[in-house]
């Protein structure tokens, strides 16, 4: 290790493992003082040996990435085998147990995400998307706003080519081109992120109409509720949130907050108080809890004073 370009790779690994003799450590330190790459490597390896637990935000974003990746690869998967859910959960649980047994190891850093294996599939939703309103383009035409305010779902946004083909041909093509629920959800999200809120609304509606029993439709109730809330279509937003909250789901916390916000803007104070109280009682640590308590105080509710 007399030349600057002789990087003591084995010594670096030994140093991280705590297996380097004092004499070699001194020699290594001399090299590190003049070698930014090796000193950075040693720092990185030491950090890697003590990985930090991912934040809640990262976990949420991981969930979004997973669902999007699944949606993007859905058409490439063959028909799923009828492997039982119980078997998978047992497999997942065994991974959790094994990972837990290695708690002293670096693998412990990944234990938390193995914990998710035993849980129900997570919905393809971004809380970040949820909390941060999508941008509204300044000149966006909103031809379907009136239609939105009616109770009739809008027409499917995928326009048919003209001249109109024969009905049978249309039907055949519709069957052949019918997008999956996951694809519709992704399409709606893309439209929403692109600022086309009306288009996104239409696609969410189609998703709920075409696949009413799908998990994607369940998620859509909450997402569309939020979108309608952003657009000020409050009664329909409320209906969407109620639809979502009619069953249990991982977005209940967000749907409750959305519902309360819609009621606030509709000036339905009594219902709003009830909604915020429900949110605080079910999710006292919610990110919306501060807002809930603030509103309850403004509305003069006792609940605000009785909760921390």
């Amino acid at each position: 290790m007399t030349r600057p370009d002789e990087h003591p790779e084995e010594w670096l690994d030994s140093a991280v493992a705590g297996e380097l003799s004092p004499a070699r450590r001194r020699e290594l330190d001399l090299h590190l003082a003049g070698c930014p790459a090796c000193s950075a490597q040693l720092a990185a390896a030491s950090r890697t040996a003590r990985p930090s637990r991912p934040s809640d935000s990262e976990r949420r974003r991981d969930r979004v990435a997973v669902e999007r990746a699944l949606a993007r690869t859905a058409h490439r998967r063959v028909r799923p085998s009828r492997r039982s859910r119980a078997l998978l959960v047992r497999l997942a649980a065994s991974v959790v147990v094994l990972a837990s047994a290695a708690s002293a190891s670096v693998w412990a850093a990944h234990k938390w995400d193995l914990h998710w294996l035993g849980r129900d599939p997570l919905p393809p939703v971004s809380i970040g998307e949820w909390v941060a309103p999508a941008p509204v383009p300044a000149a966006e035409p909103r031809p379907s706003d009136d239609a939105e305010k009616s109770t009739v779902p809008p027409a499917e946004p995928m326009a048919e080519p003209s001249p109109a083909p024969k009905p049978a041909a249309v039907a055949r093509r519709r069957v052949a081109e019918k997008p999956s629920a996951a694809e519709l959800l992704q399409q709606a999200r893309d439209l929403r992120r692109g600022g086309n809120l009306a288009g996104a609304t239409g696609v969410y509606r189609n998703l709920e109409r075409l696949y009413p029993q799908s998990q994607e439709a369940r998620v859509s109730y909450a997402l569309l509720g939020r979108l309608l809330l952003e657009r000020g279509i409050l009664e329909q937003a409320l209906a969407q949130f109620d639809q979502y909250l009619s069953a249990q789901g991982p977005l209940a916390e967000d749907a409750l907050a959305g519902r309360a916000s819609a009621l606030e803007r509709l000036s339905r104070s009594t219902d709003e108080i009830s909604a915020w109280k429900t949110l605080v009682s079910r999710y006292p640590q919610s990110v919306y809890a501060g807002r809930a308590r603030s509103r309850l105080r403004e509305l003069g509710s006792d609940a605000a004073r009785s909760t921390p």
Binding site: P4, D5, E6, H7, E9, E10, D13, V16, A17, A33, G34, P36, A37, S39, A40, Q41, A43, A44, A45, T48, A49, P51, P54, S55, S57, E58, R61, D62, R63, A65, V66, R68, A69, L70, R72, T73, R76, R77, V78, R79, P80, S81, R83, L88, L91, A92, S94, V95, L98, A99, A101, A102, S105, V106, W107, H110, D113, L117, P121, L122
Partner: protein, 207 residues
Amino acid sequence: MAQMPDGPNEPSARPVQEALARMAKDASAGDTEAARMLLHTLAPIVRRTCRGVLGSNHPDIEDALQDSLVEIMDALPNYRFEGKFLHYVTKISLRVAIAAKRRSAARSRNLDPLDAVQPGHVAHSPAGAVELERAALIRQFVDELPRAQAEAITLRVVLGFTLEETAAIAGVPMNTVKTRIRLGKSALRRRFQQNSRARAIFGRFGQ
């Protein structure tokens, strides 16, 4: 230094790898639930790789994560379940992240050295700040290396893998990876010597 759960000091590493491999096989066979569980397990590991390459505040990090997961799903049918599955995953995510970084750099040469600052790892001391700045500079200089060297240097210097792990992930013999690391580090050293900011940072280290 062992980041993967399959190092010599990992008593449960092999069963974990086997469990993941079984999940991967089910996912490869088209089982959506297995695919979902597998990706949920892998996402934090892939994120760490992407963050190491791109920096935690890079605007493309979520896209890189998602693209990596898609690549992993696409690669499952070709995986022969002979090597360590997490090495395979890291290799894929590393390549996706490096490609994303280079695309991003091509779009804009305006690299922000602060992109190495990670939430929860913000420097609370001058030494910590220097470390972060140094990491950002290394990340920037790694972009300028040939792809094979960049991959080896990222695994070794940025992500902190051992030599054996680096060779396994890169899929090359140990001597090859040693050569790549040596050449890459020497190139980094030259870049540091040419860069006034880098010289200033390392001057603070007592050079």
